[in-house]
Amino acid sequence: MAASKEKHAKQSCVIPGGFTVLCLKFKSDSPTHHQLIVKEHRVRAEKSTQRPLNRTLFVLNIPPYCSQNVLKELFSRFGPVQSVELCEKPGASESTEPKLSKYFTPAEKEGFKVGYVVFKNASSVTAAASHPHDEPLIVCTEERPVRTGVQKWIHQYTHSFIPPDQLQEAVDSFMNDYDKRKEEEEERQKREAEEQAEDEEGWIKVTKGAKGAKARPHSEAANQRTLQKESKKKRRKELLNFYSWQHKNTQKQHIAELRKKFEEDKQKIALLRAQRKFRPY
């Protein structure tokens, strides 16, 4: 693959590891540029439908001002883009939790990001990976201005207002959903409990059951409490200062403590002396 690009008229910059370096400028007249590093997305284990193999481009080092939309437009020069996903770190997408409404999704960090661009056609991926290095991608153009700085913050502030009814609606729909899930869960537990109950002939059906399916999970705190109770009981049964050797031991212990304290103090003093902490002025 690298060899084929060597023949390209305008050379693309490929580095070991199969990554291609693209040049990204904020404006066409910007004096400096960032390096977008792209590669075809290829992971053995991934089964995600969101990132289909051979149509997904893996993009690194995306500056904070490139939003999903900007990125979509930038890469549409290589072919129609189906979707763009941005995350903070490379890795599997982690949307296992129930979908939250936009008001409740936590704000993302505005740092450099990693992107997965899914093209409609597989050929776009190769086109992007062989894009010449000296033709920069431009983020902010006349027809597609990107808001940054004060403009952006005013925009953000203006759009931070949520109409109460919409918010209420989002809350209600989530709670309905939650209640439904809760009910289902209860139903399931009830069913399992029924299954474990005795049948008419006194037999209990023992099943493995799903993980964490028990009605009430035993907790760590409860475990500890039992342990503590036991050790307390043990201690109560012990006799103190009963035998003469025990008495002697207590005395010995006292002297040992004094000694230890003395040594500690000596150490403190030595340390302070080393730091010249005893010169009053």
């Binding site: 580095i15 070991p16 590891g17 370096v21 004096p31 540029h33 960032h34 590093i37 080092n61 500056p63 904070p64 939790e97 129930p98 939250l100 008001y103 409740f104 740092g111 450099f112 940054t148 700085g149 004060v150 403009q151 913050w153 005013i154 502030y157 203006t158 207002f161 949520i162 109409p163 918010l167 809350v171 989530f174 709670m175 939650y178 809760k182 993980k211 964490g212 999970p217 035993h218 907790s219 002297i255 040992a256 000694r259 230890k260 304290k261 040594e263 500690e264 103090d265 000596k266 150490q267 003093i269 030595a270 340390l271 302070l272 080393a274 730091q275 010249r276 005893f278 009053p280 002025y281």
Partner: protein, 1158 residues
Amino acid sequence: MKRKNSPLPEDLENEMEESGSSQDEGEEEVEKDRETEEENGKKRKRSKKTVTPVDSEDGVLRPIKLTRGELYRPPTVEELNQLKEAESLFHCSLLKMQMEELLKEVALSERRKKLVDSFVLQITDVLHSVPHSPVVELTDLSWLTDVQVPFLLVPKAVKGKFHMEPPASVTLVGSYPLGTCIKPRVTVDLAVTIPSAILHPMDAINQRYPRKRALYLAGLAQHLLSSPAVGTLRFSCLHGNRLRPLLLVTPPGKDSSSVTLRIHAIPPPDFLKPSRFHPQKNNIRKEWFTGMEEPEKETSETPTPHYNSTVLGDHLPQAHLQFLSAVRDQCPAFKDGVALLKVWLRQRELDQGTGCFSGFLASMLLAYLLSTHRVGKSMNAYQLLRNALHFLASTDLTENGITLAKDPDSKAPSVAEFQAAFQVVFVDPSGHLNMCADMTACTYKQIQHEASLSLQFWDDPTLNGFQALLMTPKPLIRTYDNIFQLSGLVNLQASCKKLKLLGELMDHSGNYVVTVLPFLLSLLQRGLGERICLLTHSLPPDPEWPVDSEPPKHKDQAPLSFGLLLTPEHAHSVLERGPPADSPQAAEFRQLWGSRSELRRFQDGAITEAVLWSGVTACQRRLVPLQIITHLLQLHADIPESCVRFIGGEVDDVIRVGREAPSTGEEESLKVVQCYDDLSRKLWQLEDLPLSVTAVQGAHPALRYTQVFPPVPLKLDYSFFGREKTSRALVPQQGKPCPVYITPIKVICHVEGSGKWPHDKQAIRHIKAAFHIRLAELLSSQHKYTCKASPTHLDVWKDGVAFRIQVAYHREPQVLRESVTAEGMLIHRDNPEARALELETQHRTHLTSTLHGLQQQYPCFGAVCRLAKRWLAAQLFSADIGQDAADILVASLFLQPAPYTPPSSPQVGLLRFLFLLSSFDWKNNPLVVNLGNKLTAADYTEIKNNFAASRDSLPIMFIATPNDSKVSMWTREAPSVQMLQRIVMVAAESLRVLEAQLMDPSQTQDVRVAFRPPLDMYDVLIHLNSKQVPLIGKAVDRPRATFYQGIKEGTVASSGGALPVIDYDPVKQYLTELRDAFGELALFFYDPYGGSVIAVLWKPKAFEPKPFKTSLINARSVKVTDAEVSTVPNIEAILEDFCIIGEGLVKKVEPRTEKWVV
């Protein structure tokens, strides 16, 4: 990229660790002689080796480990005794060892003693070879060629003859032969007896003897000048008494700083009869002193007790030495006891100058205690010091003088007679001399105050008594709440006239400063009354001058400083209520206050004399003592206002708010708190909520009076803003300057727990949002407040102030911590999310209410917090020491003031805050702040043990409070070791500059110097467009041109109106984005109160090339060398990003490329 010169941050860590040792080496060189006591040195080395070879290297305490054998071996009797003594006599062996170490530090080394002895021998030889000179008139000074007489010859004419002759004897007197001489400033007293041929029995009269003494010293100086054994020769005088000049001699060459020889000239022992110097006798004739013939001769001349004691004092040094030597021989710990007492006095600046409590007095005091059996002969130094302080604290020498004379002869004056002539009385063994003749009553009161204060904290097991007692210096400026200085001392001559003090002036031989001082003090004491609990003054320092120049005049000395210790409840009241108009005291009151006194009728119907001072705001009222002082001094002592320099309100400027009356935010804070109280009441009373409100708590500095610039009620100009489409709320407009910043004041609203709450974190969030919506509906329908609900909080616009209400459910942190393992076990694991929530809803609210209580107890707590935080912010440290941590630090100044008293003025509070930051040993000690007095001594020990056991995993700045004894939650994230190191450095420097500025009358007052950060250490400066900095008006150096921020004058409506722009600060947004994007590469520093520069510091390790990794590529560029791919930060692009991200806000990015290269 590399750094050009060795930069700060990367070496800081090493520096911090090495600082101990490298500093040591430097000092070792300077003070070679200090450490030459071989024996001592060896012992030290040995102890280091045996105890802990590790800890002295890295300077950190480690838990000690002893083997079983060491711990449980059978004890010897000796060891048992030693351990027992340490346990019973001292708190612990630590204090004993500390005292021993201190004594070792101040004791003179053998080498130094040898040097002194040989030098004394040399000088004695030279002195004995003084040539005879012809007899001349006393006024004829022509025989003195190279030196001036160390005496102010006023009046000039005096009868008598003088000639030089070798001294009758030269002997050592004072502390050196006694063995109580300590470092630093080693002075050895050498008494030179004037031969009796020079003196005449009538010389005691009219300063003839003191002048002969001065001439004799001048003669000795002239002779010594030619000797090669002499380094420098200067004149001085004993405790500032101009009648007792001294000749200071130092050895030549490099030893010059190791010892100073003070040569006293004394008369032969039996030269004059002590009975002639009875305090009621006169020895200076008015006729001679004024130079005027008085027509009718007065029958009796005024007594001259001070002059008498001066002359008499010269007769006795040898007798005193004998007496003290006898005492020393009886009591083995006498020397060490005196040494400790001297250190104690020196730390309190009481041991030098006119009217001081000198080391000689300290020895005499211990001798007195021994002779009266108040201390035993076998006591150790620690007990001697303790008993001495106890005696000082409990005995008032201004009322009941004490005497050392066992059986005084019949002619000796009685203590009552001494008491009548002097303010403080301590009679020497001969029974004729009052050793405290020059001491003012105020100075003694100060000693008493210090002694009782020391005893108070000595026994307190919760603090480091040793540190506070003997190691912490207490300079005037840091000790007293208010200071004022009298400059232009020449004006005091006029005061002498005004107060009719001719007799006293004669007694003090023309020293008008010393003459008038007691009268000024008693005047001020009367005038300030119960406003102050202590009035003290600086002791005028002993002048020193070269032998070939005239002695300095009285007016040339440094300005007199007075310190006031205020009583917080009375100090700043504007009303001075006097006696009823018809009572006999009324005349006295009128006499004291002059024209300011007027008759007033009070609400209770009484008509009394009263004085009303001006002052509306707390900031103005703090200047009431100044008004009183200037008024009284002008009225009674003719001292013009221009001579009085009051140091008490200079730094207030940097936290000044208020548009009409100058204020430092007390009134504004109070208003905010009242407004909050109203809101919380209304929240409580809301009905129709699904669950009831159980508590409303503030979680914002403004609600505990410590917000640097408390929110001020605002009225907004709607035309300045844009409007949001649906809610019609105000929004900032593009192209206009940034609107005024409105701080949202955080209020936590706890809602009752109930089974209805879901047990799921997302569900709880949604329920809380529903609560916010409901609260908003109710508040706007029932009270007409404008509200804005959002999922995380609810903003309420009320009385021109914005509150941000957040609903809290007390079990939420627990829910956040819960998780279920694969085995189905329910476990609790701490996580940042839960911690942050707990901090916000539980700890911060608790802290807020605790500190609110502290403010009620100490009225200036809030102001000190605000000043301290202003300083931190101005020095760009506000991100490192947060608001809460700073408030707790300040609280510790009030709760644990030893060795001071709790500060009663913002300024002294700031100074002590800086001192705490810079002097506390953060590495080895936890700072325990006993908020609400909930910790016991046992808790302290536990905290310390925990701290020592897990030092490495704890934050470098460890602050423990009753609620938080293990983790130091407020300083968990910051500061880092390096930043703390820098904070300590800057604090020390600021303290130095600030104190110098405040104390030095000649410098132009600019205390803001301490609030301007040094910017030269930073790598990039981002200059901001001041129009987009909302708090620019609060900057340390306020800009001349301000711009319109959408505020109108006028009364503020209590409810309704459009929702203003709340919490919109472009700079804050910018900083968050910068830290998000480049936090791994650089640190960003900013002054949130109107700073117009963001300082950037590259992290030292960020610029090393790293191998290519997909997880480490942000903002970097790739470099290919051979088959290796490495990445380095794309510095040019980053600098451009600074501009892009801050479009419209950033004016200029200034890379300081002189410090680094790409």
